[in-house]
């Protein structure tokens, strides 16, 4: 019921429709770009050369396109989802609304978790719509159905699930949608910066600053690493270490959500 209520609220506040409208716009834009013969042009370019290499090169070209599109959707989808979700917790905590909810025979963790899951379901639905649509368009246009592209759905939803924990935590503590967006987007940028370990280790002169950089890198969610792993899998179908970024990100998310639940449990409304 709490999940359904979150859906109903998202629809009533136009978040649900706005999200799907923007996704539809993106799908439309993608369709438009493909219709102006980018693919045909690209195929023609690739086909200039020895015939034996043609099929291989076209497949590679489309796979590269798939991998870059998956990254673009990952970033676009996650940012959009964070913006769309930021207000759903603060609005729940409005005086006069939360007191009534708390008076019902439902525990506080269930109330907040219901909100979290409702929010996550909306975004998951949107990601499925967006990514499957793009996959169908790409497949129909190129004739190459790269199912690995669909990995973008679980990876994007997973990363959003982690970032939503931060949105919920900030929402519970400060009851501010704007601050939730600021902190979460900042976290995404910081984690991407921290992921540049190779050059940062070279640039940093002291040992303690290198250790601090690494410690911070391991703490924050691996937004960049996971997108990199996704690209590697789609592009090369090769074994990559996706477990480490997943479990460290999941640990961060669980800690954030656990903190949110703990604070929510102790707060006065």
């Amino acid at each position: 019921m709490l999940i359904a209520d979150t859906f109903q609220e998202a629809r009533a506040r136009w978040l649900f429709w706005g999200l799907f409208a923007l996704s539809t716009f993106l799908i439309g834009l993608f369709l438009f770009v493909l219709n102006i013969d980018i693919v045909a042009g690209a195929r023609a370019t690739v086909e200039i050369g020895p015939t034996s290499r043609t099929i291989y090169d076209i497949h590679k070209f489309v796979t590269v396109a798939y991998s870059w599109v998956s990254i673009a959707l990952y970033v676009w989808g996650t940012l959009l989802a964070v913006f769309a979700s930021a207000g759903l917790v603060p609005v729940l905590l409005e005086p006069g609304r939360i007191a009534l909810l708390l008076s019902k025979p439902v525990s506080r963790p269930i109330l907040l978790t219901g909100r979290y899951l409702g929010n996550l379901s909306i975004i998951a639905l949107n990601h499925v719509y967006l990514i499957v649509s793009i996959w169908l368009i790409l497949g129909a246009r190129t004739g190459i159905w790269e199912s690995r592209f669909l990995l973008a759905i679980p990876i994007s939803v997973f990363m959003f699930a982690v970032l939503l924990c931060v949105v919920v935590l900030i929402g519970v503590v400060f009851e501010s949608a704007a601050l939730s967006v600021m902190v979460t987007v900042a976290l995404m940028l910081i984690s991407s910066l921290l992921a540049q370990r190779d050059w940062s280790i070279r640039l940093l002169t002291s040992e303690w600053s290198r250790q601090l950089w690494l410690a911070l890198y391991w703490v924050v969610p691996k937004v960049y690493d996971l997108s990199g792993a996704m690209r590697q899998i789609i592009l090369y179908d090769r074994e990559v270490d996706w477990i480490t970024p997943v479990w460290t990100s999941a640990a961060f998310g669980l800690a954030a959500l656990g903190s949110a639940l703990y604070i929510f449990q102790k707060r006065d409304f």
Partner: protein, 312 residues
């Protein structure tokens, strides 16, 4: 089964602020209160006396600093303890995307009613609160009075045994107030305990059997209204008083009201009444009548909140 719907034992709440120098605000100080099952109980107090904090402690919207609160013998912090409780908060904000029907359906499901029960109960209650024709209208179009009645229907959905109403007629016009009172009166003899938190003394006096008055977070007075307001003073009407006798009386009684023929002397206790009669008779005045005067709840409230903490 507990004989009390509400039972608090040294219940206290202190709000703390991290950012202010004067960090602690004591909203409720070791409040011990018993509300028997099936009664209509009013909680009074000036603004900031701790009334809303007390009700929020009962529904676990606020976490107690110390002490305990039981609802029908169960710890109020347990979600199951709130199963028999219907609550209408002060300044409620129902989600405006709901229709009247949808709003009742949502809160009733949280109260544990299954689909079949909700389907039967929602039309019944909408009819009872006079909102049958508004069932499918979004509640952002409702007036304040309609929202209040809908809130009351929400609180009654799961046939609660305890109804906690925080300022139920706040912002409602006199007609709306009467309608709410009629709905509440309809609950009489159903065994429902009604706990009203209000600053409208007349409302509490006309509806409730029991009252408690809070003052600065402490229980200042508690009891049956009829007992508390009865015998709070005496009125002696006398004639033939000399000016000297009037001056002597003024020093010893609460008030003296002169009419064209008589003088009405008001005293606060039986002892004072007897002393005044002795003075009048020894001064040569004639006693025309003597009557016990009942004070209103308003008198009692003002007296209690102006003076120190009296007794429980």
């Amino acid at each position: 089964m507990s004989e009390f719907a509400i039972q608090t034992d040294r219940l206290a709440k202190t709000y703390t602020s991290r950012f202010r120098r004067n960090r602690e605000i004591r909203a409720l100080s070791e409040l011990t209160l018993r509300v028997p099952c099936g009664v209509k109980f009013g909680l009074l107090g000036a603004n900031g006396a701790g009334k809303t904090t007390f009700v929020k402690l009962l529904v676990s919207a606020v976490v107690a600093t110390s002490g305990s609160a039981l609802l029908f013998g169960r710890d109020a912090r347990e979600p199951e303890a709130r199963l028999p409780v219907g609550y209408l908060p002060e300044n409620h904000r129902f989600p405006t995307y709901f229709t009247g029907h949808g709003m009742l359906d949502f809160y009733a499901s949280l109260s544990g009613l299954d689909g079949a029960q909700r389907k039967k109960r929602i039309p019944e209650l909408l009819e009872r609160v006079g909102l049958k024709d508004w069932a499918d209208v979004r509640i952002k179009k409702y007036s304040k009075g309609m929202l209040q009645r809908l809130g009351l229907a929400q609180a009654l959905m799961h046939r609660p045994r305890l109804l906690l109403l925080d300022e139920p007629t706040d912002g409602v016009d006199p007609v709306g107030r009467r309608e709410i009172r009629d709905i509440l009166n309809g609950l009489t003899d159903t065994g429902v305990t009604v706990f009203i938190n209000s600053h409208l003394l007349s409302e509490v006096e006309s509806f409730c059997e029991y009252v408690a008055i809070l003052k600065r977070g402490q229980l200042a007075l508690e009891g049956k209204i009829s007992s508390l307001v009865a015998g709070r003073g005496y009125r002696i009407v006398a004639s033939g008083l000399s000016d000297g006798l009037l001056d002597d009386l003024r020093a010893n009684v609460e008030s003296i009201v002169r009419t064209s023929e008589d003088v009405e002397v008001r005293v606060g206790s039986r002892e004072e009444a007897n002393a005044a009669i002795d003075m009048l008779r020894s001064g040569g005045a004639l006693i025309e009548s003597l009557a016990a005067s009942n004070s209103s709840l308003e008198d009692l409230f003002i007296q209690t909140t102006r003076t120190g903490i009296e007794a429980a």
